[in-house]
Symmetry: C2
Subunit: 196 residues, 2 copies
């Protein structure tokens, strides 16, 4: 997605060889017009698959998921994170380890909002090791719903998540894939074929 | 806002005398069309005030803030919550106590994204004791920015937050105000005058 690549080149900040900060437009400050364009791109890439619901995870997945949901005309469900079991209602839950934060949290959704009749599209802002995405896929499986695919705004191609998910046969669409980060800037992978 | 009142009557769930669950359309599952209508309503209510930035708090404020930002053509900034000081960048920060959760967290934004030149509109999904809103107002003051007003989707009129903020002269606009919750349902306050 050229618009997004240009914006990352312009406003992304590279820290070391692993961190790309996009907090001026994607995950702290949000550029609504750009996020609307991202939502439309996802809607196009996952059209015709019978998606009935979009699933994401708080907090930074909510914006892109909402815009895609608006475009596709389907509700958006965001998984919550918690450290302890406090919710009284029946939930689907899965553990997610964050390598950056060095902690494991549980992600969960109310059982009210996913059913075996659903065809779910998972959307998130970043894919690195794939832990959050795998947690969301576990929720879809627990609910007995169908997984239409996974859409990611920025995939770190130099980490394992994307490879693992594709090896499992997941229909993974990343709008941009980063091959390397460093003092000389950001190297993007060639654009993916639309239906890989 | 009649559309919202009707939706709360239809899908809101009342638990005891204090809790209104709207997680089927506002803060767990999201109805993108409804949230777009809410964003437009806020854009109308705060038009002409020179708003340059919308500030909200993760996670459930993000959706309405994003839609308002799209309508108003301004960026959206969401404050993050944390238990410990880990962020390396310069931030504005304020403590926020959650009475429902019985804990105090720090909310913060990067100093990069609010400046004395900004006129900030604060948006959030719920207003009860007003703790989160007061924390966000503190961030705006720390940055030396101007506060255009506060927009709230659902104000619990039987708790103190709204009264306190209005007594401070804050331009507070709540789309619906709930006077009472109970076994006999939800009692709404009369619609507010648009520019109170």
């Amino acid at each position: 997605m050229k618009l997004l690549m240009d914006r990352i080149r312009q406003d992304g900040r590279v820290i070391g060889h692993e961190i790309l900060k996009v907090d001026s437009f994607l995950n702290h400050q949000l550029d609504p017009q750009l996020i609307q364009a991202i939502g439309r791109e996802f809607a196009g890439r996952f059209a015709g698959l019978g998606v009935t619901k979009i699933l994401t995870i708080e907090a930074s997945g909510i914006a892109v998921a909402l815009m895609a949901g608006l475009e596709m005309g389907v509700p958006v469900l965001f998984a919550k994170k918690r450290r302890a079991r406090t919710q009284s209602e029946a939930v689907y839950a899965a553990p997610v380890t964050s390598y950056t934060r060095g902690e494991t949290v549980e992600v969960y959704v109310s059982q009210r909002y996913i059913s075996p009749d659903d065809t779910v599209l998972i959307l998130d802002d970043f894919l690195a090791m794939g832990e959050a995405t795998s947690g969301l896929i576990a929720l879809v499986r627990q609910a007995g719903a169908r997984l239409a695919g996974v859409g990611i705004v920025v995939e770190k191609g130099f980490q394992e998540g994307g490879r693992r998910l594709r090896a499992q046969g997941v229909n993974l669409q990343s709008l941009v894939v980063i091959e390397a980060l460093g003092a000389d800037g950001i190297r993007f992978a060639e654009p993916q074929v639309a239906q890989a």
